[in-house]
Amino acid sequence: MRLLPLIILMTLSTSLSAVEFDVYQSEYRPLNIALMVDAGAEQHGESQKLYNVVKNDLISSQSFKTLDPLSFIADTASTLEKIDYADWRIIGADLVATCNLTATSERWQAEVKVYDPFRSKLLASNTLIRDSNELRVLSHQVSDFIYKTVIGVHGHFNSHILYVTKRGDKSDLIYMDQDGANRQPVGKNFTLLLSPDWAPDGRFVALNTYVGNRPRLETFDMATGKRSAFGSFKGLNSTPEYSPDGRYIAAALSYTGNSEIHIYDLKKRAWKQFTHHPGIDTTPTWSPDGKWIAFTSNRNGSPQIYRKKLSGSKAERISLKASYNTSPVWAPHGDRIAFITLKQWEYALATVHIDGTGLRYLATGKRIESPNWSPNGQMLLYSAENSGIRRIYRIPAWGGKAEAITAENIDASDPAWSR
């Protein structure tokens, strides 16, 4: 009998030191792409800018590797005139993408072609036009076109990201393009700022902040910076999330005496209670068809992920493994839910099918939090702590390498990707 505590202690310490998560890695290998941009001599600087943006986009998706132009046998001009597939097969280019950039009066025009040298085939071509001050937007459109042609999914390269930076007692809302360009504060000096969520039209952001030591829900106008409260009840006012059609915002309120999911109708300006359970219910997330809400609940003792139909069925449990599962976010294509899971005090970002099968651990990290999908469901953002500083990371949803997208010395949390 005396040995028993010792045995328990030993098993505890061994299991704590073990690696807890088998992080998922797909078999996918990035495609080698030969990328060429041609423009008249006057536009050399601009063509280089476009090339760099597109190259960075494609590499950051982890679906492509751009080949070094020094390895090219054929030159850009002759390839644009007529491609010789053999020249590209020999250097191992899975794909060739050409872009002819021309300037018309006040406009940029990009003629894009994507080839498959191994099938000797033009896969697709397109002409994209943008105003002269929108070269970056045009460049991302070129990336989107190449991505869609090859991967079959819309690119996310013209999307935007919001996150929160905390400085002492104050928090700022930071905006940037998905590639880190145009980074700037759009809202300043919030007293705590949590869970920003972008409206589908991108014009508003719903968020949780504190005014006079009281939490409240506000919409933030991206164009004017105007803040409007829409939830300031007794107790909790937290975790707002827009419905896919942008008409409703689901949130967790506790004025009934317990944290429940409620739904705000932006048109009628009225709240309606959605969950009714004495356990904690929080962090609602909508299914892409708007018919379900998944949420965190501790109704069975520990926090787990559930989903419930808007039309009012019984809640079904989604997360089956682990004693602590939180922060669900429904994938834009609806097939999976990303969430944070805990095992033996180690946290991981994971995804799972709606029926609880197909669990994949994508990343582990200290204080790993706040998963958020790219609009095309191919990438995930999350925050994690590194040397005492929270940073935002981006990782392919199909398993890949996590990349930090915020600085190593500035606090960053609560990422929100535009839809």
Partner: protein
């Protein structure tokens, strides 16, 4: 501990009764409101030395020490009818920040429920949760986390 605190409560209440009895007598004999109130103050319940109660991980259950503190507050609030309080719920940094907001609220509500069941009017108690956003101890580790899982009572 619980038994003990109950005993203490009864003893305090008895003492208070005794004093108030004395005070009444004095009011009659001296006809001086001032001296009566002086006695009353000295017999009133003292504000507990700690304004915090602590919790276990992912729990909003009050332990014996927490209940003892709250018994003290229930007595003090009974004697100070003009004072309203805010209960602030807090969590340690482990787990989801959003879930911790709800957990902090539940901790504050748990304190409020205990006080109302011990005679304090619910209208005098406000609650707020800061989740893990305002840690008392900013470091890491079990000792620090234990300090951060608390609900504080502040008067307003």
């Amino acid at each position: 501990m619980n038994q003990f605190s109950k005993l203490m409560f009864v003893a305090l209440a008895a003492a208070a009764l005794l004093f108030s009895g004395c005070a009444k007598k004095e009011v009659v004999s001296s006809d001086g409101g001032a001296s009566a109130s002086t006695h009353a103050v000295s017999s009133m319940a003292k504000k507990p030395s700690s304004n915090s109660v602590y919790f276990a991980f992912d729990s909003s259950a009050l332990d014996a020490a927490g209940k003892a503190t709250l018994n003290g507050y229930a007595a003090w609030l009974a004697d100070h009818g003009g004072i309203n309080i805010t209960v602030e719920g807090n969590c340690d940094q482990r787990g989801s920040r959003e879930y911790n907001l709800a957990l902090g609220q539940r901790r504050a509500d748990s304190v409020k429920d205990y006080l109302t069941s011990h005679g304090v009017s619910a209208s005098r108690i406000d609650t707020v949760s800061f989740g893990e956003e305002r840690p008392a101890c900013t470091g890491s580790g079990a000792a620090c986390w234990a300090q951060n899982r608390h609900a504080d009572i502040t008067s307003r």
